[in-house]
Symmetry: C2
Subunit: 363 residues, 2 copies
């Protein structure tokens, strides 16, 4: 889908309104958060077409009539509710905020992980560092900090991370196993979600997870609990250190939502080392959400928004890429794309890559 | 304009997108803030239809190509810019964000005054206290804190406050002076902006400002500087203390964007004391921005959003009211509305009130 190649079809009046919505975005966000947190939208939904008044809601929620009044009047302006006599009735945008689990996952992720640190987005972008992370402690990147985040931040981070992979894995497994992997090296495999899915899916697959030792400990525990420890191997490393050894000569390498955690120069280094480890028969699968490959402008919006999480909170230098940027890096690392499948899971793309044939100088 | 009395005319697809925009609202807000702060939108505007690339912008702004990339790709999704070949061109929403001074005033107010404290909106609403104010210090309300706020917060607060009054005063003055006030009591007159405007407008008017002593000191200095000190009098008081005396028997009382700083019970008390001070010939003018009296859904959105500033940051119990709520309080205080004029300044309403006639029991 070619996005943003023409000016928006929007009236001047609506564009001016959009600008105000952006200017008051943090307010509408916090209003939505409160209406969800205190079950106000859920109770309005239950009241259906009859509606429910602020006075009634003050009996069944912990909020005063004043608090309900300011929230719900803003909710009217945001299209979350509409008013039938003195009762509030759920409107379409409110319906999706309440019932679309992706909206809830995103909202909690923004509130619990990103909101406070985003205040330092300007500094983060000037310095190329995750300046927002200081609200949680003294770290350069969020990855080693994950286990020490406040409970809600931790929960919302993993809910966000797993939501997107949980939706993609069922569609990815048959596509990958159609190519008969026997030894899959899961680069940046974290706590083993994909590795265990592979073991469940195929009785013969052997998996090696390459990641930090801390992640691998959890992965090993998970493999034991699942009864597949004999087929889940670990290879502790720091993937940013290009002096460390790599798992060589496997038939299949795998990177799922992994490269978006790195800058372009880091990606190139990782791809070059992977290419060096591959044989002419090896295949490398890459799963990413590219903003230009999304099925709709709404999903492109979400993917582009997520980039700023990387800038402010995660590492200060990575993002959700445009597909052409990653394709250029693959090419530079000596790889080519053999299969390219969009619209898997929630806007995921699966790339199957191979080593480019090496011509000698005589041709 | 009757707002929100029917469900929104919006497709399910767009409603789902709206929900995502709300969920990522703090991100789009910070992106807009950075694009304005680092002059990116201004430079894109200057490049006009030709557009300007991220590489070019990295030469003329303090931002890296990476930083510009994440900001501008999100800017594409937000409708701020569109892409012409590899250049970015300003789109309509970006145009208004850049050129509509109301959007800039609102955005800076939200960033510098509200953003951090809004994280505690849930607590503020549960407790009925301005819980967000703790990011600036230990105060119950923002009013005594104003002079001690960080410079940017202070600047953005006053810019916001003055922007709305500056637009309203020129239209209000002739309407008020058509009723020939001779002594105007400016209740909550703060640093004297309205009082001085009156003195400029009419050579004979005498004004008495009722407010906290701190505000009155500044007002007096301002009156001296303007050469009207002989006609600007002060009456130091705490308007929330109903045991303190009031300026009695003036022909004109004035409350401009004042009652929205109080809860309904506080408003009733202030109106009752004002009514008691009035004679049958006195008039009380009230200027407010009622959300139901706005000329458009966009301005109602802004007014309703502003209520949450009062909840989280200002005092925890006031708001931008619905006109019927204030009219009920006026009635209860023994007043009636003699003139009711909407659409002054930026969505302001001017009410001229008089004491209700007192019938004796024989009629």
């Amino acid at each position: 889908m070619p996005f943003y190649r023409t000016p928006s079809h929007i009236s001047a009046f609506n564009a001016k309104f959009e600008a105000q919505k952006i200017a008051f975005g943090p307010i509408s966000f916090q209003v939505a958060h409160c209406l969800l947190k205190f079950d106000v939208l859920a109770q309005i939904d239950s009241a259906a077409e009859r509606g429910i008044t602020a006075a009634e809601l003050s009996q069944s929620t912990p909020l005063s009539e004043y608090a309900l009044g300011v929230l719900l009047d803003m909710g009217l302006s945001m299209g979350l509710v509409w008013q039938h006599e003195s009762g509030y009735v759920l409107d379409k945008t409110g319906h999706f905020l309440l019932h679309d689990d992706m909206a809830a996952i995103n909202l909690n992720f923004v509130q619990d992980v990103c909101y406070q640190g985003l205040f330092s987005l300007d500094t983060a972008l000037l310095e190329g560092k995750a300046a927002g992370l200081k609200v949680f402690g003294d770290w350069d990147t969020i990855y080693p900090a994950l286990k020490d985040l406040p409970p809600k931040a931790k929960q919302s981070w993993f809910a966000f991370d797993h939501y997107y992979s949980d939706h993609a894995f069922p569609q990815l497994l048959p596509l990958v196993f159609a190519h008969k992997p026997s030894h899959l090296v899961d680069i940046g495999g974290n706590t083993g979600k994909w590795a265990l899915s592979c073991c469940d899916y195929d009785a013969n697959i052997e998996v090696t997870i390459m990641d930090y030792p801390g992640q691998l400990e959890v992965a090993t525990q998970n493999a034991i609990a699942r009864g597949v420890a004999a087929r889940v191997h670990t290879f502790a490393t720091d993937l940013l250190d290009d002096t460390l050894p790599f798992v060589d000569g496997a038939d299949t390498y795998w990177m799922s939502q992994f490269l978006d955690c790195f800058s372009t120069s880091q990606i190139l280094s990782i791809l070059q080392r992977t290419a060096k480890a591959m044989t002419p028969n090896s295949q490398l699968f890459i799963v990413e959400t590219f903003w230009d490959r999304q099925p709709s402008a709404a999903s492109a919006y979400c993917v582009n928004a997520t980039s700023l999480y990387f800038s402010a909170m995660a590492n200060g230098n990575s993002r959700m890429y445009h597909s052409k940027d990653l394709l250029a890096l693959l090419h530079q690392a000596g790889l080519y794309v053999d299969e390219d499948t969009d619209n898997l899971g929630l806007g995921h793309t699966l790339l199957r890559c191979k080593l480019k044939p090496k011509f000698n100088g005589n041709h």
